[in-house]
């Protein structure tokens, strides 16, 4: 009902605008008779100034302070009023501004995940099998304030200089039912509380030059900064230390990035940048070009080349004492790799059909194939497609993803695709069970089938701290979903994905187990996002997901109970200033 009212109001407005246009058109028609003055329709309104009135100049400070003159004071804490803290008026001189924002994120997540029992200890009687009780609860409280100092006109042209720093504070609590999960030491029990302060942004952005009078520009940004190598976070989406040259051309039709990143070690439990540790010996060189309206109007195509070279030959353990580099996997020996990703990504629409696609081809070499113990090449690819179509308030989505698997582990070529740091916004993203949860590869080494917030079953020790692994079973995802805007402030998303491995040979090798089947199972999820004020300042999010295990998953993993399906429930409140 409410929806209908909105629609009616919009229609009336549209008709009114159209009517005005018609009237004006007639008024200006050459040769038309000049019409008499329109009769006064608005008695009591201020009359238009007389053309004969003497021109008088009244000095006002500047556009920023005009509100003061009008008697509307600056309200620092109200982002919907003029606010100095939001960069609405300079704090120094004519063009130095500050901008402050902050996000407070509260997350409560009950879930079930297959976990191993601890082999050297136990916390209760009759813990007789490898698979333990799957129940876990996870709680996280995160505060992410951002402080920026900006030089330049913040409204009519790009800023000239920007300093931004984003410290982030996180407290997490994990409760599990088995020992040796929260910490490598089983004597530390089943719960873990952890707090951390990290720096997610700390950069200087310098506007090098404008190259056209439409403010096409070149800028350079140095420091810890966010980067996403494609539209959906399939390859590299992170806040990392780097130097980035970026800009646009041809009235923003072309955008480019040239960037170099040296990865910062992450804190294990918060996932935040940990500047107290030495930088990782891992480098990323990135070049990309976005072309708008290619091949058709309304579609943007990105060409990219991303080079990742990793020289991490030393052992590294995470904050909970688990070995993460090299992964406990096969020969379990330190190794280095170079890999170049050639990407072709796109986002936009062909007529009524929306399409996002991502294709990567990975080409490189690995100093040690952990299965053969010898050098190997890397040749792998990745393809994702998401077509969708909108029917008013309803969007129907299809999802297809193929991440190549290694069909001959231990050969001279590793053919399993792995990303650098994926955070995929795809097929339900972090409300999907498979993507959201890290699932341990029990019995197959100290690696996960998938990490948290990742799609690819990459058999990595850790998404944040581990090395990429190109000896993995690969993934085929076929899914369908819907985004339903039930109300302007309420969106429901539904997703159903079927997942399977492309080749389980490596799983069979690592577990010394014959005939592991491909079928991972069905991942079903529903999410509700409620924005009570129609803004992003307060968002409630509730999502629930279940994984209905298929034969392959059952061949691999189980639990002492509740193994018919695994669930994850997310209750999330995001407050933003």
């Amino acid at each position: 009902m409410r929806r209908t009212l909105h629609f009616a109001a919009l229609s009336v407005l549209a008709l009114a605008i159209a009517g005005t246009a018609v009237a004006q058109d007639e008024f200006q028609k050459p040769g038309a008779a000049i019409q008499g003055p329109v009769p006064d329709q608005n008695p009591g309104a201020l009359p238009a100034p007389s053309p004969d009135l003497e021109y008088r100049q009244v000095p006002i400070p500047d556009r920023n302070r005009i509100m003061d003159a009008l008697g509307v004071p600056d309200q620092a804490l109200n982002p919907y009023q003029q606010s100095t803290l939001k960069g609405d008026r300079p704090v120094y001189g004519e063009d130095w501004y500050v901008a402050v924002s902050s996000v407070l994120d509260t997350l409560y997540e009950p879930r079930t995940v297959p976990v191993p029992t601890n082999v050297v200890s136990t916390n209760r009687q009759l813990t007789n099998d490898q698979f333990g009780r799957p129940r876990q609860t996870f709680f996280a409280e995160t505060l992410i304030p951002t402080f920026s100092i900006i030089k330049g006109d913040t409204t009519f042209k790009p800023p000239e200089l920007e300093f931004t720093v984003t410290p982030a504070v996180k407290f997490t609590h994990l409760g599990v039912d088995e020992l040796g999960i929260a910490d490598v030491n089983p004597a530390k029990g089943r719960n873990r509380n952890s707090g951390f302060i990290g720096f997610q942004e700390a950069f200087i952005d310098y506007h090098l030059r404008n190259v056209s009078d439409r403010y096409d520009f070149d800028s350079v940004r140095v420091g810890i900064q966010p980067m996403n190598a494609d539209f959906r976070g399939f390859l590299f989406q992170d806040q990392q230390l780097g130097v980035r040259l970026f800009g646009d051309r041809a009235n923003n039709r072309f955008q480019y990035n040239l960037a170099y990143f040296r990865r910062i070690e992450k804190d294990t439990n918060s996932g935040f940048n940990d500047l107290s540790k030495p930088l990782r010996r891992d480098n990323i060189l990135l070049a990309n070009l976005f072309v708008q309206d290619l091949p058709v109007t309304g579609f943007t195509t990105e060409f990219s080349v991303v080079e990742n070279w990793n020289r991490e030959a030393a052992f590294h353990y995470d904050s909970n004492g688990f070995q993460v580099r090299p992964a406990v996997f096969g020969f379990d020996a330190p190794h280095k790799y170079n890999v170049t990703y050639f990407g072709l990504n796109g986002d936009g629409h062909f007529g009524r059909i929306n399409l996002t696609h991502s294709f990567y081809y990975a080409l490189g070499n690995d100093s040690l194939n952990e299965i053969s113990g010898k050098k190997a090449n890397i040749r792998a690819f990745f393809l994702a497609l998401e077509p969708s179509i909108d029917f008013d308030w309803l969007r129907i989505r299809g999802s297809f993803l193929y991440s190549s698997g290694d069909d001959n582990p231990g050969s001279g070529t590793e053919t399993g695709f792995d990303a650098i740091t994926e955070n995929p916004q795809f097929a339900g993203a972090d409300s999907s069970y498979w993507i959201r949860e890290g699932i341990p590869f029990i019995g197959g080494g100290g690696v996960g089938l998938t990490g948290p917030n990742s799609l690819i079953p990459a058999l990595r020790s850790s998404k944040d701290e581990g090395q990429s692994n190109f000896i993995n079973p690969g993934l085929l995802l076929l899914g369908i979903g819907a985004d339903i805007d039930l109300l302007p402030e309420l969106r429901i998303a539904l997703n159903a994905n079927h997942l399977s491995f492309n080749n389980t040979k490596i799983l069979e090798i690592l577990r010394q187990q014959g005939h592991i089947r491909d079928d991972i199972g069905w991942d079903l999820s529903a999410t509700a996002n409620w924005r009570p004020f129609d803004t992003q300042n307060m968002i409630f999010r509730v999502s629930g997901a279940v994984l209905v295990p298929g034969d392959g998953f059952k061949d691999l993993l189980s639990s002492q109970s509740e193994d018919k399906l695994y669930y994850s429930v997310v209750l999330n409140l995001i407050l933003a200033y």
Binding site: V120, S121, Q125, Q130, A187, Q323, G445, G514
Partner: protein
Amino acid sequence: MTVAVKRCRLGGIAVAALLGGGITTSAFAQATASLVSAVLPSSRSVQIGQTATAFATIINAGTATGTACSIAPSTTIPANFAYQTTSSATNAPTGSANTPIDIAPGASQSFIISLTPTAAIPPISVGFSFSCTNAASAPLTTGVNDLLLSGSATPVPGMVAMSATASNDGIVHIPGNTGTGAFAIASVNVGATGDLTVSADTGSAGIPLALTLCQTMPSTGACLQSPSASVHPTINAGATPTFSVFAVGSGAIPFAPATSRVFVRFTDSGGAVRGSTSVAVVTDNPTTTGSASILLPGPSVLGTALTQADVGKIISQVVQEAKARGKPATIAIVDRLGAVLAVYAMNGAPATFQIESNPNGPNATQLIDGLSGVANLGAVPLVPATLEAIAKAVTGAYLSTSHGNAFTTRTASQIVQDHFNPGTMGAPSGPLFGVQFSSLPCSDLNVRYSPTADLSSTTRGPHRSPLGLAGDPGGFPLYKNGELVGGIGVKAEGPYRVDEYIYDNDHSTDEIEALAGTIGFDTPAAIRADTINAGGITLRYSDATPSDFVTTPASAPAYASLPVGTGSLLSVSGYYSSADGLRAGSPYGSSASGIVQDFSGTVSTSVPPYLLVDGASMVRYPAVAGAGPSAMTQAEALQVLKSAYASAIQTRAQIRNPPGSVLAVTISVVDVYGTPVGVATLPDAPVFGIDVSLQKARTAVFMSSANGDAALKSTPANPAGGPSVGKFSDAAAAFFGRPVFSGGYAWGARAIGNISRDSYPDGIDTTPNGPLSLAKNLSTPFSVGLQLDLILGNIKSHLVSVVTGDPTADTPPFCTALPAPPGSPTGKPVMANGEQIFPGGFPIYRNGVLIGGVGISGDGVDQDDMTAFLGIYNAGQALGTGLGEAPPAIRASTLYGNGAAPHYVNCPFAPYVGSNSQNLCAGK
């Protein structure tokens, strides 16, 4: 002779099928001649003095001409043997008898062979050496190139039988898992008229196949009666009956013509086989249901063993490499059961080596530096290189198997240290932490060499190792034709040690020289340790590769031609006498080896087990009743053995290739005094597991018994030269706040292992040691705490005995100086072959009363753990006599020390092949 022509052709095809089945070629193989062979018919039965003939074909599948190829029986029987080449076109003999012939690469040569019994011979599988001077004997496969021969004093039937399959290639194809295949048999009785039983079986292999047969009309092939399990015709002399055999599948059968075969046997009323034939069987288009097809351990090919010539060749290869490197070596070679075949010391080889010492030790007077401490004691300043070489050779042989895994001392090193992998942090200890102290010189199970006895006397069975198992690189298994036949150990340089950092190449002289010895006796690449994963970690095989060689081992000079001054065979008291010269090994499974397969069906009919036998061919550890209060009856002991065995033959191996294979372990059941009341070994199980399974069972019993603490405390200071061990009892009591080895708690080997590590919980570097371990700064793989201290005195006596050459100074034939438990009928300590501290042993209770224990060893520790645990549980369910697991309330997992409880049992993921059931031990 037209029939004979056809026989030969079939023989050739059978060989081709074998080749197609993938005789594994070694990664280290040199270009050479390589032989395969076939014999038809596969059985003959004749009267004494009459000649049994058969046709044989040798194919040279190698790349070089086989020179002077000949045939000789490898089984000793009272019969005269002759062979002669034949024309493959006419089957007429060519050339002259007993004359070797060259065979070109890719070519084949047919022969006629004859055996004339000179005395009565019960039906026996006669193996042959089909060899050329430059090629090892063709692999022996029962039913393909052996001859089942019998010779009798009276006229007996003699059936010559041949099979024909639809595809005419000697292979029966079963369409799909549950399809039906068939083949036909034509036979002729060339002996006397007799009543015979004709039946079909699959030999010793467990193949999912139901077999029936019928006699047929020769003209039409129609059955004369409904097919049944056997038919009982009277076959006249000269008669030519025909038969059809039907095979109905009940599961996928992989193509393995050496093991997956159907045999048809003609037996007389006395049970003697008077004729047989066989075909290979395979499932076409198999469908796998559940999680895997079942790959059972195949039987070993009887008759394969190292010959004296082989031993000489191996020594010569090492000598050549060691000379060229300027690092003269001491070399030991053993057979699969650990019998020493030669100890050879090159001139200039160091006679002794230090055992690697803890930098925080040694404190020899207190023996806290373990093995190196004992070596520093008085009479034995350093350990003889001969003993180190023997221990390494034994380790290579004992940890490996023919068809599942090939491990070296480097593999052993990787899995016995405080972390797995060694050198990392946080990870628990190696899965076989403690296996280094098994097959000990004091073991009451492992036999000893006696200079007065040869290999066929009472010294049959697994032999002891002077220092337990070795982690010092330079010990390898030895293979012939894909069969494990022994091990080699070389000591030339550096301390006797373990590899504490496995991520680099050691460039170990010992290992390179030992590897040179293995050339021509190479490990099949498909089962090498570095193709096997445990806990997702790849095991290590060897840092040395053939590229390290400075010589070409295959072209080493003949042993006999080694110049004077090169070196000499060396007597080692208690192991080997140089007066014996080079010795040949015993084929695994032959009665001379001391371990034979048991087809009686007592323990299992589907996978006949191997049992230890003594020189009189008596089973050493049959299922018998136990002793003590509420003791196990014979039926109960047998049921525990059978239940554990039945679980084992379904269980997925963790250390055997290909993935999805069934494991191969040894099961030992003991009573409350530690006396074995039943021991059975799965086919192709590694030998180390025989001793270790008994250690585990006894450890569980001892630690769970009411007498444990008292026994530990009652050992006098330095019993037999060893340390007092009462302190460990005190330490455990202090750790848990109460005495824990006094009958109040049930301990399995896993839980004992948990508290026997140098950190508790195991693997956590920041926590102190478990109460049965030495402190972290003193602990090494050569010095672990209680486990070693219990037997240090025995090892010291043994070293003194070896060094002084005085056999009377040797350790008594049982380990530990602990008192025998009260009432023990044997008067021996419970842990008479030493304690063991890795998983796979549990106590057995009846209504809360300890009555015995089960130990299993030979595969992954979780697999060992589960099969032992389920053996007790399932036996209890089957018996209903109150026999069963320890009551949960008294299991050691109820104890807390240092914030964590020991783990009682851990059953593995995906435990059974052919099934995706999980959590088999839940609630038990």
